[in-house]
Every structure is written in structure tokens, then in C-alpha cells.
Amino acid sequence: MDELILKLKREIIETLNLDDMKPEDIKDDEPLFGDGLGLDSIDALELIVLMEKNYGIKLRDASEGKKIFASVKVMADYIKDNR
């Protein structure tokens, strides 16, 4: 699980061009949107593409993203249960 979380953090940094960040800067339970990493709606779409491209998980309902992208840990749990 820790490996998946670290991999996800690296992918998020690369996909969303968070050039000033390192994996250790993202806390496992930190919100990705709003006060956390401050991601925006385009980033949410990129995360949806990332889930499909890298993990074969297609989110049929975009509103699901709100729950799934709550934090890196929640994302990792969702991937583990659905891949």
C-alpha cells in the first residue's frame, strides 16, 4: 500500500506539473483540492485520465471524483479495490 501511495504521489506531481513539490511534500491524508494542494477543475480532469490510463479505472460519474480524490490515501484505497 505504501508503495502504491508513493507511486501515486510521483504520478500526481508529474501529471499535474507540480514542479516545486516532492512526494514527501504531499501528506497521505491531505486534501488534494481546496486548502490542500490547491488543485483546480482541470487538474481533476487530468486525475480522471490518470486513473484510466495508468490503472484502467474508468470513472463513469465525474461526481465520483469528489470522493475518490479526497486525498492520496483515499485514491490508493479506491485503486486497490477497483483495479
Binding site: 506539473n17 507540480l18 516545486d20 490547491g38 482541470i42
Partner: protein, 208 residues
Amino acid sequence: MAYIVDYSYINQSNLSFGTSSFKSEITENDLVENNFLTAIYRKQNYSYPKFFKMDNLSKIGFLNAELLLSHFPEVENRKNAGVICFNRISSLTTDKNFENTIIDSNNYYPSPALFVYTLPNIETGEICIRHKFMGESSFYVTEHFNSKYIADIVEDSLKFNDIILSGWSDFVNSQIKSLMFLVSKDKSEDSELFDSQNIEKIFKSLFL
């Protein structure tokens, strides 16, 4: 009438950037972990995380605006400040990058982050958002740096805007050549006219 308040430039062919009164260079060492535009961003100690999400055209606009407006903070938040940019190849580089995400039907993952930059006027929009400009925002695609056309458009726009950021951002043999002017309808003591002759002279002095 239109007057040049100042100008900024970015010239990748000799790794230089600056304004009329300040010149800096990017060294090979600066480029070890950064591309040219990111090296300028880091050298100037700017702090605007959205920069990293922009395409090169918007990064050029952002950097030019920062270089210029850091000397003129009174321009920030001006209701009647506008941005008018010009270039030759529109957003073609980003268009191609986006196309690469959809060209293979077996690897078809259109990138939303690339798609939002597949219009050149996103550059002017990014500058307006950053500096809270609420005047005109427009982008023209022309065959070459047409100084008369640029001067005429900007002078006309100054009928409705107090101050305009106007620039040329292009790539020649993949090398960035960009020049941006801060143009006012008010004349100051030593300001030059923003006319075809003067902007052509500055363009040639920097790039030819």
C-alpha cells in the same frame, strides 16, 4: 498617440532576457535541471505555481509581464489596462502536443491540461488574471513581426484603454524570441513614441 513606458524581452538564441534598463543571462549551469523559461522563472525568484501548468506561450507572456510590471506596480489592478499580443505560429506547438495525446486510437487519452492551451489568446488571459487587468484582451496571428500593424492596433486600442501590454512571442527554429511593450497614452518626460519605426528599431536591436 501611444508612448513606450518600457519594454521586456526574452531571447533564447543568446540566453538573455531583461528590460530596457536591466539585462540578465541564463547560464549552462541554470539549464542543468530546468528548461530555458523555467530557468528564468527560478533566477527571478518568482512565486506563481500556476506557471508550471502553462504552455510555453503563456509562460513567455507571464515572464514578460513580470519583468515589466515589477517596475510599475501602479499598473496592477487597473480597470482600463489591456493586453494585446501577436505572433506567427499561434498555439501550434501546444496543438501538436495535444494531437499526440489523441493520434493513437490504442492510446487515446486526450489531455485536458493541454487542451485548455490550444488557443493563443490564453496567453493574454493568463496575464489579465495574474495582474487583474480588465481592459481589452486580444491576440492576433500575423505572418511576421509587422510593426506598423502592431502600432496601429495598439494606438487604436488606447482610445478605450489607459495602458496596454503588447508583445510579440514567437519561435524561430524552436528558439524563443519575445518582446513586450508597456504602452501608455500619457507621455512622460523621456518616453518614445510607440510607432512603427521605434518598435521596429528595438526589435531589430534585440533579435537581428
